[in-house]
Point group: C2
Chain length 372, copies 2
């Protein structure tokens, strides 16, 4: 049986008229492909004729014509040129609603105001589609499915216009979320921009370290530094466009860091252990605020099962978990250097844990660790 | 077919004689269970009679007898009492080799020297067994399989004694790694202790943030803050015992952070973008130093496949990947709040990617994103 998700064809768009997509990189071409898949007439534009041809070859849309009359324009160009391209599109198409997909939202709006553009036809978007790498060649119409799509309205925008952008997000399978440009930039500074730089600076500490030290790296270091592998060029633009908000959060971070270094410099001073415990407990409280899988705070039980590092073994484990009738809430693989064993960390509902452990052991699986 | 890994019984120990395990918490009881599984006569001791009975009930060993004559003693007590317990064991058993499992190695050795103990019969150990939570009830003889087990020798220790500790690690399925106490503490400060506090302080920023902001959390924030959920009590001890080394690394981190905040405060100043790009590129270089799955730097190709959030769907995907004949190098599940879809990020060898994408799409799977 094929599951409904990948069998169901998408049927029809919520958008009336032509959509013009400006910028045929990963995000622009993905928007275009997704809209084509629901039958929208997509006009593509790109400053590079080669990029444009490539995106058209991939089926992302068609070249512009003299008879074009787009009702909606999606600008998907790098952050530092977003405002100027938006202004040009607003001027060129006086009847169209215009949005962008930049990962900051205050700077484009302020840029438009400074340029004297008609901001009442502009609504900012930020589809939070995970990775931002590659060009049209990496584009996928499915890129936005299940992802938050922030829509930033501002004073004077009619509700009907906001509905058009919501329709765009829904057409692409995304989850529309309304917030102001300021709320958006403060939010992404906290959940995306600050984690990025904190991770980059942590990874920077590994330069010059002994090979043997780095060789002891476990999952904690891997997780905390994973995003440090992100593209510097993109992040220079993102951070530059949200610098004041990011700097403010980093200043608070630095205050905590100074406190911590002070504690570690006098670890046996009266109150030092308590102060350290409180800092760490605040971290516990902070991480508990991150919503879980289904938007809830529900906590799961974890168990770790040893899996042979050969094709099919992990599948066999998951098949047997399915046979046992337990739903996997989350799964993460860990590997240790030099050994042909994977450790699969499995999250399940707490009430299912005891039975799952017993049944898996009865089937011959070795459980490395269980318990909350 | 059951894979060799979980079918093969372990056969025989490398250790001659009785092993006394002092401290029947998660680590001690796991060591004891693992040794029992290879036929070792394990003597258990714990300051708490209740803990001791529990561990014996779980089959981790037997109570002490007047006729005991252990050749090896494993001390698995909290870091702040490790040195005093080690000293007592060295004094009580003048013919035994003694080790511990504390996650710092300089402090126990220095503590023993300060107490005038016979440090020539002491060799420190640090089994890097992931989580450190729960008591004997969470113990598993399999806990150490495939994990690094650091062995810290010091001047005057005969090679034959080191071999005994290596035998202990190998008996438990771990990978022995030799380094001095100083090398060990500097290494774990870098790869474990500093990431822990950096993550805790980052998570602390989420306290007081708007619900809507935290609601935009993606995988980057989840990964960077996962270890911030660790037990403060344990970490107060670990950080306290390695405070100078951790503080030194944090000072370098703070220098970078100061530089970064300075750049963000004047993002359009001459050279600001270049300086920011260089900091981020240094992070790229640092993360690239972390060894991959099999102890190499080999990079894999990633693709993201959409999976229905119902029992059996992920198993079906992995079964089909097995049928296609591609080995899964790594796997990670992502979820977005509010949607019944999981995104499975799959890592495979680069040469297998094109075929896997084509074959999966032919089988009806929706690929959200592919490419390096």
């Amino acid at each position: 049986m094929t599951a409904a998700l990948h069998a169901a064809p998408l049927t029809g768009s919520r958008i009336v008229g032509e959509v013009r997509v400006v910028g045929a990189g990963l995000l622009g071409a993905s928007v275009a492909l997704g809209l084509r898949a629901v039958g929208v007439d997509v006009i593509l534009a790109d400053a590079s004729p080669a990029n444009l041809s490539l995106a058209i070859d991939y089926g992302a849309g068609r070249a512009a014509r003299d008879t074009d009359n787009p009702t909606l324009i999606v600008v998907a160009v790098p952050p530092d040129v977003t405002a100027t391209v938006l202004a040009a599109e607003l001027a060129a198409w006086p009847d169209a609603l215009v949005t962008d997909v930049a990962s900051v939202k205050v700077a484009p709006l302020e840029g438009l105001r400074a340029l004297g553009a008609d901001v009442l036809r502009y609504i900012g978007s930020h589809p939070m589609a995970g990775r931002e790498r590659g060009g049209a060649i990496s584009a996928r119409g499915d890129l936005f499915i299940g992802r938050p799509w922030v829509i930033s309205t501002h004073d004077g925008i009619p509700a009907a216009q906001v509905s058009v952008i919501e329709g765009l997000a829904l057409d692409l399978g995304a989850v529309p979320i309304l917030m102001t440009a300021e709320q958006h930039d403060a939010s992404v500074a906290l959940v995306s921009h600050v984690p990025q730089v904190i991770s980059s600076l942590l990874a920077n500490r590994l330069n010059g370290a002994a090979e043997s030290a780095v060789g002891l790296a476990g999952q904690g270091l891997r997780d905390t530094t994973r995003i440090a592998a992100s593209d510097p060029e993109l992040w220079v633009q993102v951070l530059g466009a949200n610098s004041a908000t990011v700097a403010d959060i980093l200043r608070s971070y630095r205050d905590d860091l100074d406190t911590l270094v002070g504690i570690l410099d006098a670890p046996t001073a009266p109150g030092a252990r308590r102060a350290l415990a409180e800092l760490l407990a605040s971290g516990n409280a902070g991480v508990a605020r991150i919503p879980g899988k289904h938007g809830t705070d529900r906590r799961f039980s974890q168990l770790i099962v040893m899996v042979d590092d050969t094709p099919g073994e992990l599948a066999r484990l998951l098949t047997e978990i399915g046979e046992i009738g337990v739903n996997l809430e989350d799964l993460r693989l860990e590997h240790s250097p030099g050994v042909p064993i994977g450790l699969a960390e499995i999250s399940v509902l707490p009430e299912a844990e005891t039975r799952l452990v017993a049944d898996l052991e009865a089937r011959g699986w070795r459980i490395a660790q269980a318990g909350a």
